[in-house]
Symmetry: C2
Subunit: 337 residues, 2 copies
DNA sequence: TTGAAAGCGTTACCAA
DNA sequence: TTGGTAACGCTTTCAA
């Protein structure tokens, strides 16, 4: 109420107050060399006294440099997995002085494209995009922008620029083989349409191959059009068991769906894995409180995000970077298969 | 590999190619008025042909305008509730052409402060900060920056600028009263230290008042130093039941913790609510698959985020805004109290 | 160690 | 409907 909108203090005022030129003040602020200690102290004193705030917009403009923004696109924050990945990214970026500019795409390619276009206009230092299903338009924009890009989540052996991800196919195959080894033969899969095209599908394909290689069959698949969550798993299990008889086991897109399946089984008095085997993916927090330890695949989601941030930061700073970074997964035996 | 880093096409080149002045080209790009349709077509043709990209940095600089960035600070993405809030914010901002610049603070005030300082240097259009426990430093920065600020989550009746939140105290009181009405007397609370100081504490205080007003007592509280999740609820319930006898019911910080408690009770063969009543908060997805419907409080988290975005957008555009926006909660009776 | 002048790409402002 | 010129706040570059 009391203060009228004061014009922002500018460097020239600081310089004048300190009795030096703009350039000297600028050098002090940028921790450069070329000024006496006494000069530095005088300038900094004025900076604090006047409450000077560096105008990074002007800096970026004048010096033709990038911003400290890194665009990060994620499909869905309702999916715990991506929330974790994002947190990993943000922490690492933040501690290096960069800021994440977020896009929650809802798996909509067009909206990612328009976000990419808009964010590129702000001279971002880099971009991290989840998934590799870019449209031609998006791909073109990313290529012509002279900006480091990390494709996250799916391992992409010939990335646009950099890739940090998981070999989803292999993780699916490993689970499928285990399920067969435990004696299951008649199988089904429950998942969702989303999950950025490749990844869940790759897991499914790897898993399917393992089942077939082991002499089992995939009798049914149920694909929801929703985020892969608890209720989806519960509901789809109910549907599936009512339409397909004699299933040995179900492989779920992730642990939250599998938890839904397990709770459904419990509600019907089915014994797991005797009557029905259940396998998840992700080793998510829910598995800690279920009546049985879930058979799943551990993935370090936070670490995945951090690695992505590491890659983009290295590229930004012109340091050498691995083009492709593969994040491990680890089998968690559990009690449900 | 093939293309050497071409200098970015600038407006002057477009203008020249189209045979008009920079100003005319600028007007066309900004959808202003003051040019013939033919001129527009010629300019746009060159824009596409040359692949011109608007340099928003230069725009913001020259026109003294803000960026399209809105700083958003959130304490923790491992907490589903905040992930939902953030998604609500981001969707709304994005569809209005603004971008969220993220800070995941881990409840660390100092890190929020330094983020605020850095993000303000980029002339953000506005800021949305979760919680109202700003440090003096942060408060000062926010005040002197001439930028709209929304304080989110806790309802703050005398906000720095704008507030969008929930009356946590009342929601706690409502639950406490219900628990007493259902005959519970000897109560306990399980929560975490975090949750941005006020909110969970306010719920606890409201709840406690209701218990006391109803003639009950709060026998025990268990406060974890962790994000409020499934396992925390499970573990704390185990600890609490082993140290405090004859509890009628436990009020949890949120549904995920309550789900942990419920699963623990189930694992020990306790009947709910007969042996132990359980109440949660938030109406989170987990409640859909539990063996019993959870007694909880529904909060529209996504909507809360959207309202916050609406407030900041209105303020940015200079439209009239309610200083304080209260988001409703709704009691969900359930079967666990 | 310091400073003066030019320039970054765009829009505001005024003139035609 | 157009265009010229100044201005935005800082850094680069060159000179002292």
């Amino acid at each position: 109420m009391s203060s009228r909108k004061r014009a922002r203090v500018k460097l020239a005022e600081v310089a004048e107050a300190a009795g030096v030129s703009k350039m000297t003040a600028s050098r002090v602020l940028n921790n450069g060399k070329g000024f006496s200690e006494e000069t530095r102290d005088r300038v900094m004193a004025e900076v604090h006294r006047l409450g000077y705030m560096h105008d990074r917009m002007a800096v970026a403009f004048s010096s033709h440099s990038s911003s400290t923004f890194v665009g990060v696109s994620i499909p869905d924050l309702g999916n715990e997995v991506f929330a974790q990945v994002l947190e990993g990214i943000e922490r690492r970026l933040n501690s290096s002085g960069y800021q994440a500019v977020l896009c929650v795409s809802q798996y909509d390619t067009a909206s990612v494209d328009s976000w990419i276009e808009r964010v590129l206009q702000w001279r971002p230092a880099g971009l991290i995009v989840t998934g590799r299903n870019h449209s031609e338009q998006g791909r073109k924009l990313l290529r012509q922008a002279d900006v480091p890009v990390v494709e996250l989540w799916d391992l992409n052996t010939s990335p646009l620029d950099l890739s940090v991800g998981i070999n989803h196919y292999d993780s699916g195959y490993a689970m499928g083989r285990f399920m067969v080894e435990r004696g299951h033969r008649t199988m089904a899969y429950i998942g969702t349409h989303h999950d950025t095209a490749h990844s869940a599908k790759s897991r499914f394909q790897g898993w399917q191959s393992a089942i077939q290689d082991g002499g089992g069959t995939v009798e049914d698949t149920y694909v929801l059009k929703d985020t892969p969550g608890f209720y989806g798993g519960y509901y789809a299990t109910e549907q599936m068991l009512s339409r397909t008889a004699d299933l040995d086991a179900i492989y779920y897109q992730n642990d939250n769906m599998a938890a839904g399946g397990l709770m459904f089984a419990q509600s019907r008095g089915l014994s797991v894995p005797g009557d029905l085997g259940i396998a998840g993916w992700g080793d998510l927090p829910i598995s800690a409180i279920l009546p049985q330890r879930l058979t799943t695949m551990h993935v370090a989601h936070l670490k995945l995000g951090q690695k992505a941030a590491d890659s983009i930061l290295a590229a930004i700073k012109g340091k050498p970077v691995e083009e492709v970074t593969s994040i491990d997964f680890r089998f968690v035996p559990g009690e449900t298969i």
